[in-house]
């Protein structure tokens, strides 16, 4: 039933996005802070330390936290202006219910909860437990991520819970798991400046992980060579020693092309391979195929660049690999990552100072939120939900019969497809804005319209929440406390800075109350997030991501602890694999003979151009938060289509023209930005905007078979000059999906 209750401009006029520009009390407001609370930025996986300044239970500004070791006071613009999401006029402060023809109207918590619980019960009793799905988020604390997993399995007993980390880290995680048996960056960031050669594959570090830039530059100061793989010349690529403008989806051409040379020239560590790994020979056989011609053809770059990369990487005394969404957002994302990691493994350069690799998590708790059991196939501690031993252990922790724990459910994209097909009738979502962030946005919106009941928990009325029957006002990071696990695998503390405004509640209280009303109160009897952490710690014990030895006090005192930390007093594990022991039953790391295969949709005559999508520095994910912060929006107000002058000339497009970017699934009209810093066969559109400006209108709903990550980084489009749009959406503010 969930069509929009009224037209979008009306909803926007009531709930935003609108822009917040001035701190409470105005810029001239001076005087003393009541307190400055040390916590962390919520706007990416690096989780920079920051202090928020408080007066009268209001966040009025920030102060750098120079003693936090990861970022030492550094912040990107999102971190600097993050405090503007507090005291925001769009902030939801009461539960809302859909009012046909009008939009939303407030209702009491009790009425809202009653409605939610009765709908859950109705749908589950009529269509089965699994007919109610849960979509959760990777920007939640570890405690909340743990709670969501337990809530799904114990309170709702649905198999169908997944989270938006599915759109971010899963390829990297799956690849690491396959090769090493552990899903985590292998090294702390402090190893980066110590490496003599660094390969950055598909990571726009400057914009998506800005703080990492200083680590890279520091490495260069120490004499390191920097190799960057990207279809666009990003700011770090500009200063790289070698920039390889690889064709989207052609990364394996570079990796295997390099490896073939390295094998021929003897730049691999035979002893290491023999003693600590398995599967190298089959891998080498596949690599053999990547002759200079073939590798160049796949990669779409002259072979010379690949050869130079091999010459830099191969013989280096120490090396570091960083990879991110550029190679991961593919229907072969896991294979891409495996191919990249194997460049590390074959040289034996890991598990020591300045040697190793890392995946750059994008979401706020991208690392931690995937370990606590809110993935459709996992239980806490990164445990496989179909592993009988894991089920038994967790059933014990939860004090429930093992058979009551559902099996593997649907991951995010198939879950939405099941909604579209009418198999899943009800949905609870938190910290997820799929109408902007999932691929093939027109399909996603149509799916949401199929729902019989949808309850959304958020602090702003996101584009997705507009489809909800009930919206429950939850909490911002700084209105609750807990832990997250940063890009390095460092577990850190978010402190409560202010209390939720109005009737808004801490997320965990909302979830626990629903659980209680579902009759499972005794299993959700937490007084605070700390209780959840204590339980999580035990639940993770013996798992891969073992938090058992951690306490909040230790995390505070030590500025974070790296997992695994298996028993009290254990110092944590900043660097993995120091003992050359890997987390497979045979103790070895495994090579895989991955081979290049085409992406699901390759350009053709009708749609001849590659579209690749990504982020800009001033926005975070679906933009629900950053599109509401005036200073961040001003920095990058609306998406633009980057294209090379050669392509633009062919299409008769000049800089600033409106262009229509169209795939088989949908289109956007945005302004063209003509730059020599992108491949001529590729256009780029950032994805933080909704509706008529959503890059995901075009992207393809294809997923990697192992990780189930969507293929955001390549689909086929055509681009043409367009008139200035005049539809009502285009007339909205740019923060709401308009265009100017």
């Amino acid at each position: 039933m969930a069509k929009l209750p009224t037209d979008i401009p009306t909803i926007v006029s009531q709930f935003g996005p609108s822009l917040h520009r001035v701190p409470p009390g105005g810029w001239e407001q001076t005087g003393e802070d009541e307190k400055q609370v040390k916590t962390h930025c919520c706007f990416c996986g690096q989780q920079c330390g920051i202090q928020l300044r408080v007066r009268n239970n209001k966040v009025v500004g920030f102060e750098p936290w120079e003693d936090f070791p990861f970022n030492k006071g550094k912040l990107c613009p999102k971190g600097v202006k993050r405090y503007m999401q507090d005291e925001h006029p769009d902030r939801l402060k009461t539960p809302l219910q859909r009012a046909e023809g009008k939009g939303y109207e407030p209702l009491s918590w009790d009425a809202a909860m009653t409605r939610v619980v009765s709908e859950i019960q109705r749908i589950q009793s009529t269509f089965g437990k699994d007919a109610f799905g849960i979509l959760s988020g990777a920007s939640l604390t570890n405690e909340k991520a743990y709670l969501m997993g337990k809530f799904a399995r114990v309170a709702m007993q649905t198999a169908n819970i997944d989270y938006n980390g599915r759109l971010c880290m899963v390829s990297a995680g799956a690849a690491s798991k396959k090769v090493f048996g552990v899903d985590r960056s292998a090294n702390p960031w402090s190893d980066i400046p110590k490496a003599k050669v660094i390969l950055v594959a598909g990571a726009n570090v400057a914009e998506c992980a800005p703080i990492t830039t200083d680590y890279l530059w520091q490495a260069r100061e120490n004499g390191a060579k920097l190799i960057v793989l990207d279809p666009r010349m990003t700011p770090i690529a500009r200063n790289a020693d070698l920039f390889i403008p690889v064709r989207p989806g052609g990364d394996i051409g570079v990796f295997h092309g390099m490896m073939r040379i390295m094998i021929q020239r003897g730049w691999i560590d035979r002893a290491y391979i023999d003693n600590y790994t398995s599967g190298f020979d089959e891998y080498a056989r596949v690599v053999e195929k990547y002759t200079p011609e073939y590798a160049a053809k796949i990669a779409g770059v002259p072979f010379d660049l690949i050869a130079r990369a091999a010459e830099m990487w191969g013989p280096a005394p120490s090396s570091f690999l960083l990879h991110a969404r550029g190679i991961e957002h593919h229907s072969k994302g896991v294979e891409n990552c495996i191919a990249a990691i194997q460049l590390v493994l074959a040289t034996g350069r890991l598990g020591r100072e300045g040697c190793g690799y890392a995946m750059i998590t994008g979401q706020g708790n991208g690392q931690g939120a995937r370990e606590q059991g809110q993935k459709c196939d996992q239980l806490p501690g990164n445990r496989d939900i179909s592993d009988p031993a894991a089920r038994k252990y967790i059933a014990g922790v939860w004090d429930v019969p093992e058979e009551s724990i559902p099996g593997k459910g649907l991951s995010a994209v198939p879950l939405v497809e099941a909604i579209h097909e009418g198999k899943i009738k009800g949905l609870l979502s938190i910290c997820f804005n799929p109408t902007v962030s999932l691929p093939d946005a027109n399909y996603i919106r149509a799916a949401l319209e199929e729902l019989e009941f949808y309850v959304n928990i958020d602090f702003f009325l996101s584009e997705t929440a507009r489809y909800a029957d009930i919206v429950l006002p939850g909490s911002l990071m700084e209105e609750d406390e807990g832990t997250t696990t940063s890009v390095e695998g460092r577990v850190i503390r978010h402190r409560k800075v202010v209390t939720p405004p109005g009737e808004a509640r801490e997320d965990w209280k909302i979830i626990c109350e629903i659980a209680a009303r579902l009759g499972k109160g005794e299993k959700f009897n937490y007084a605070s997030p700390r209780d959840m952490f204590e339980e999580l710690r035990v639940a993770s014990k013996g798992g891969v991501s073992d938090y058992y030895g951690m306490t909040w006090e230790r995390i505070d005192a030590e500025n974070g602890i790296f997992w695994p930390c298996p028993e009290p007093g254990h110092p944590g594990t900043p660097r993995l694999y120091e003992n050359k022991k890997f987390n497979h039953p045979d103790g070895r790391a495994h090579f895989y003979p991955v081979d290049w295969r085409p992406s699901v949709e390759m350009p053709d005559d009708e749609y001849p151009i590659i579209l690749t999508t990504g982020r800009v520095v001033s926005h975070f994910l679906s933009g629900t938060q950053t599109r509401r912060i005036g200073a961040l929006l001003d920095q990058y107000p609306q998406p633009r289509c980057e294209m090379h002058p050669r392509l633009a000339e062919k299409l008769g497009i000049s800089d600033g023209d409106f262009v229509k970017v169209e795939s088989r699934r949908g289109s956007v009209v945005v302004r063209a930005m003509i730059v020599k810093t992108i491949r001529p066969d590729t256009v780029f559109v950032p994805y933080h905007w909704p509706l008529g400006r959503s890059a995901n209108n075009m992207t393809i709903r294809a997923i990697d078979p192992v990780s189930n990550i969507p293929e955001y980084k390549i689909c086929a489009v055509k681009v043409s000059k367009a008139e200035a749009p005049t539809d009502p959406i285009s007339q909205l503010g740019v923060e709401a999906g308009g265009v100017r």
Binding site: E28, T30, D241
Partner: protein, 341 residues
Amino acid sequence: MAWGLIAAFAVVAAILFGSRGLRDFDPALVSYAGATVFAAFGLGYRYAMWLRRPPTRVYWFRGWEIFFNPKRLPSNIAHLTRIFWNNFFLQRFIERRSRMRWTAHWFLAWGCILAAAVTFPLSFGWVRFETARDSLNVYRAFMFGIPVGSFHLGTPIAELTFNILDISAVMVLIGVFFAMWRRGRDHGAMTVQQFSTDLLPLILLFAISITGLFLTASTHLMNGLHYGFLSQIHAVTVILTLLYLPFGKFFHIFQRPAQLGIDFYKQAGAEGPQAPCIRCGEAYTSRLHVDDLKAVQRALGIHYQMADGSHYQDVCPRCRRKNLALTQDGLWKAMSERGIN
């Protein structure tokens, strides 16, 4: 020095002339008049020194030249009236900096102007009051010895006239209060303020106003208790302030009107040809401005001529920034191309 003396003599002459050869001069106010003469000397001297700086001289003369340009004069006068209202009377430009600052400044400025408008003519003997011959209840006012009006005691106009100094004192006190409040709370202001330039003037104004008010209180409420002593203290504060006038923050009162000149200068510049940047080709200010700046720089010994005959002053500020970055980046690029690291 010469200008200082000229200013001092001008004041003395004005006193002599305005008080009809000291006939209307009130000897009780002689110390005030003396301090004023000294202040005039200081101001004249300081102003002349200021005008000796090449940039000031160029703009001062250029400003008048443009103002009195016959073709522009009528519109200049109209414009002057407008900016006088906005910038002098309302002081809008300060409001845009900060409301608090504006409130403080407006009260301070108008309190002082009002007080000055009364006290200077009085102490110079330009204005005097006397009771009418036919009625003790009627006061007559003389300016330069010429009767300019009369009023009855007890009428509002009389109250206003006799209490105008109290009103101005209260205005100044309000201003001081706001200014102090701001200076005590605004972290930004606190870090850059200095005692002698920012706080001392406030203290002086406070002292003048409060002692002045005490005088009134003494007369009306306490039957003249300590009147003599109080009036001496008041005189000391006023004289100190007068002496401070040319040296401290108060000098801006005399310097500030130059802003009006700049307004005309900018207008004339905007109407004339513009100067394009030699790097990006875009106009960035007026030709007039660039040419004057080059003259100022020459006078100051700033040598922006480049080896190739071009002039660095012809590069717009934005291109200067970009150029600098390209230069620095280029040094590194050249380095790594030569393979030295």
